[in-house]
Amino acid sequence: MTGYIVRRLLLVPLLLLGVTVLIFGMLQFLSPVERSALYVRDVPHTEAALDGIIKRYGLDDPPHIQYWHWLVGRKDSVSGERVGGILRGDLGYSRVGSQPVADLIRQRFPATLELALWSVGPIIVVGVWLGILAAVHHNGWFDQLARVFSIVGWSFPVFVFGLMVLMLFYAKLGWFPPGRMSDWAAGVVFSEGFTRFTGLLTIDGLLNGRLDVSLDVLRHLVLPVITLSYLNWALLLRVTRSSMLETLGQEYVVTARAKGLRESVVVNRHARPNALIPVATLAGFTVIQLLNGVVITETVFNYPGIGSAAATAASQLDVVTVLGFALFNGAILVVTNLGVDVMYAVIDPRVRLA
């Protein structure tokens, strides 16, 4: 097991390097004006200004030289200071966000992380449970209902579902508002007496002794979590059901029944662990998707995460910002994938012995 994990860990830097090469390659398709945002804040307005920036920051150097400088930064030929360098945490300047891309991610990611953490539990637990139940009651009324639920959920556009729940639970009933928190809570959170230890306001509220803030933030999470959960349940339910049905048809399960074991023991101890292996993959991708920022959900609910920020940047053609997000998301993907691989090894001994 240790060897397996070490091997996976050794792959991480190589995968990250691959991501950087891919992103850098995409950067080369941009015009020098767009690429200048890696080093300067303002759009060069004249040809002379653009030529100056190209020379100053080596935007016409050979690609491998540019790549190196993009990784580690370069010396500004005028000021003598080191500028740029993604390994130094400099992802360029976001003209849409009016701040460095790294700062924008730092500002927005905690909201996305919080939404992801509160969503992943309901999505996986409920989705898997529904799928197992549907498989165990194969062709029964629950199974039929679950399949209809799955088709409807899969067919519903996120945008439409989100607006529907917003209209019902917020506009009509006034229960769950959009945004991240109420105005009074924002006044508390942004005051000097409130310390944002984690950036996750449901936790920070408790750590600051403000349960009311935590509950308010939780109230604002309900609708986005419901929207994300419903749409992901549809897929998770189907995959779990299929996997469970296949497992329940295996010979060893038949043998377990023949031995006289109770059905609950057959399902929970023998069938379920094996059925969850493909589900683990899907669950991992669901987590990655959530951490990347769910654009439409964040936009509909005016939730200030990285998804909505990336969407705004894309619509304004702020390509450096978009690619900065892509790089960040790529890193999350690599790391999360590692977690999924380790989880595989834990669930399935055949994997770690291979």
Binding site: R41, A49, S98, G187, P304
Partner: protein, 667 residues
């Protein structure tokens, strides 16, 4: 026995009352026989009038689709930032409530204009403090204008001040250093210019705006008489900043040795993009970029006398204003329905969704030039104020010389008159420009895109200002004349075939999300292709950044864009349309431009209204003869608000895009 009878009669009376309440409408008289036999008329109690009360009357909640670019009043030149600045900073004079052309004292207590209209002397109000407690002095006033002028840059509104102070055509401070215009928006080149020239430019600025601390005045020395000068000072670029605070926070220190370092600063590098320190009724508590701005009441606000009759005094009634950025219309709509915002941006294409929520209608009386008393029509939660003519408009601009870098501009197809494209000088042909005008259906545009709430423009200026001639020359939708003009075109293909026979293809771009401009493009495309099926106009939507880039690069053959006036004066319309912002991008031929420039210069420097009107009459004739674009129709305003909000009023310069919070309050 008598008691029993009385009880029975009484019970019958009560029962009758109850039964009648089920059937009777409000106010229906009911005759009942009660104890003693005396008939009495009982009127059913009418239901109480609906009251509208906010959960938080101390806080005004606004939902805009965007957010400011910067909060530096010397640099900001867009309407969302302008709204915040309007409430945080103040100017020497301010609008007399709804008027865009009459002014009341604000940070000045009064002013005098010399006989020759070249000198304006303002007496500066005493006892005013900035939000950080610093007292405001005449030196702060003079410094604020000097700083703005020297900071300059073509992205800023400073051209509105450099022209009156240094001469018509001087639209940036860099022209005082290099008259040829070689230093426009080139801070590094300007810093490398001759130090003596830099010093001279700075000293000219300081001589143009002079503070006299002893007398308590600030004097402006103009290069020529300037009709709209007071109107120019009333806008946010005339805001007064605290010199000490600005200097401490990295701004210009007032020295002529250092001004060049701050020239053409951008919002990204400007230290005052996100921090403020004004004298206004509100101060900025915080700005969470991408989310919201929060303004809080300034309790030491100086105003003890109302600016206009019935106007507010003292600290604002509202304690807080929260301006949220909510890009998605569905979310803004839900917030309006839930009562979680008091004011929200409502696009024209969704008014049919919002109108059912209106329970109180306020119509503008054009004859009296004011709003009539509002009519309540039910219990719906919103109030709609509509019908006032706005001072902004979207129009169509032809590009006389389209950029076609290496023949690869997809918007003009092949780049030749071969049926599959248009040549770069397509719109240099007057017949083509006239044809496009005759092919535009204004009635359909006004009905479909503006809900019938607009009137076709006549000439560039808007209604109510000098230069507007309701009976002036204008185009009308006339497919027959459109066809005639296309046939009269002198353009021919390489093999000598006329335009009508060869046909053409081009793309007409609008910025995605703007339904009005999309409708304009679609109407034009449809009407032109109906005249001749060989004329193909394709409508394409571009993201705003790409649209703006293409416009500036002159690759768009036609651009549809809007103008919100800076000052209510025809000069602020003619300049950008003909020789400034848009005129430059159209590449209007030099000869025509020279003729227009001469008339524009004559008009703005003339102080006699009748003579000015005569000059603008000639200018209107020249514009009609040139036909550089298609003038559309300024929409009337539509202002939606929750019925517990009060105090909003309409000023044409703000329309329904800007809110001045000081007089506003909530139930």
């Amino acid at each position: 026995m008598r008691v029993q009878r009385t009880s029975i009669v009484g019970l019958l009376a009560v029962g009758g009352l109850l039964l009648s309440a089920c059937g009777a409408g409000a106010g229906t008289p009911i005759v009942q026989t009660v104890v003693g036999g005396t008939p009495m008329v009982v009127t059913a109690t009418p239901p109480p009038a609906a009251t509208f009360k906010s959960n938080d009357p101390a806080t005004l909640l606004v939902a805009h689709f965007g957010e400011p670019e910067t909060l530096d009043p010397a640099l900001d030149y867009e309407n969302i930032g302008g709204e915040t600045l309007l409430n945080i900073y103040e100017t020497l004079v301010f609008y007399d409530k709804e008027s865009a052309v009459e002014f009341v004292p604000q940070l000045a207590t009064g002013w005098q204009v010399s006989q020759d209209s070249l000198t304006y002397t303002f007496t500066i109000r005493q006892g005013v403090v900035f939000h950080n407690g610093d007292p405001m002095t005449p030196e702060d006033v003079a410094y604020s204008f000097q700083r703005g002028l020297l900071q300059g840059g073509t992205a800023s509104p400073q051209w509105l001040l450099t022209e009156p102070l240094f001469g018509v055509g001087i639209d940036d401070i860099s022209l005082l250093v290099d008259r040829e215009g070689g230093l426009y928006d080139e801070p590094e080149k300007l810093q490398a210019a001759d130090p003596a020239a830099l010093r001279v430019a700075c000293e000219r600025v300081k001589a143009a705006v002079v503070a006299d601390t002893a007398a308590g005045t600030v004097t402006f020395h103009l290069a020529q008489a300037w009709g709209p000068f007071l109107a120019t000072l009333a806008q946010t670029w005339g805001s007064v900043m605290d010199k000490k605070w600005v200097t401490e926070n990295g701004g210009w220190d007032g020295s002529c040795d250092t001004w060049a370092k701050h020239y053409a600063i951008t919002s990204e590098d400007d230290p005052f993009t996100s921090i403020t320190n004004g004298t206004g009724p509100f101060r900025l508590e915080r700005w969470e970029k991408g989310q919201e701005q929060v303004l809080v009441r300034f309790d030491d606000y100086w105003r003890t006398e109302p600016a206009w009759q019935g106007g507010p005094t003292g600290p604002a009634r509202l304690e807080r204003v929260v301006i949220k950025k909510v890009e998605e219309w569905g979310t803004r709509f839900a917030m309006l329905q839930a009562g979680d915002v008091d004011l929200a941006d409502v696009n024209r294409d969704v008014v049919s969704q919002v109108d059912p929520m209106v329970g109180e209608w306020c119509h503008f009386d054009l004859e009296r030039n004011e709003y009539a008393p509002c009519e309540a029509t039910g219990d719906a939660p919103l109030r709609l104020s509509m019908g006032a003519p706005r001072s902004d408009r979207a129009d169509v601009f032809f590009v006389f010389s389209i950029n076609n870098p290496e023949g690869g501009n997809p918007l003009i197809g092949s780049g030749r008159l071969d049926g599959n494209g248009i040549p770069p000088d397509f719109f240099a042909d007057l017949h083509i420009r006239r044809a496009f005008n005759y092919c535009f259906d204004w009635e359909t545009f006004i009905t479909d895109a503006l809900q019938g709430e607009a009137v076709q423009s006549v000439g560039i200026p808007v209604e109510g200002m000098i230069g507007y001639e309701p009976d002036g020359p204008r185009y009308t939708y006339d497919p027959a004349k459109c066809e005639q003009e296309f046939r009269n075109s002198t353009l021919v293909s390489a093999d000598g075939k006329p335009l009508w026979e060869v046909g053409f293809r081009m793309q007409l771009a609008y910025n995605v999300g703007n339904s009005i401009r999309q409708t304009v493009a679609e109407i034009l495309a449809e009407d032109i292709s109906q005249v001749n099926p060989k004329f193909q106009v394709e409508v394409v939507g571009l993201p705003w950044a790409a649209f703006l880039r293409a416009q500036r690069a002159r690759t768009l053959p036609v651009f549809i864009t809007g103008w919100i006036e800076d000052v209510h004066d025809p000069h602020n319309w003619y300049v950008p349309y003909l020789v400034g912002t848009y005129g430059r991008r159209q590449v209007i031929p030099e000869a025509a431009k020279a003729e227009l420039q001469a008339l524009i210069d004559a008009g703005v420097t003339e102080t006699d209204p009748a003579k000015r009107a005569a000059i603008y009459h000639d200018l209107n004739q020249a514009v009609y003869a040139l036909t550089p674009g298609i003038l559309l129709a300024p929409p009337n305003n539509r202002q939606y608000e929750q019925r517990w909000v009060h105090g909003w009023y309409f000023n044409p310069l703000w329309g329904d895009l800007h809110y001045y919070y000081y007089p506003m309050y909530k139930d």
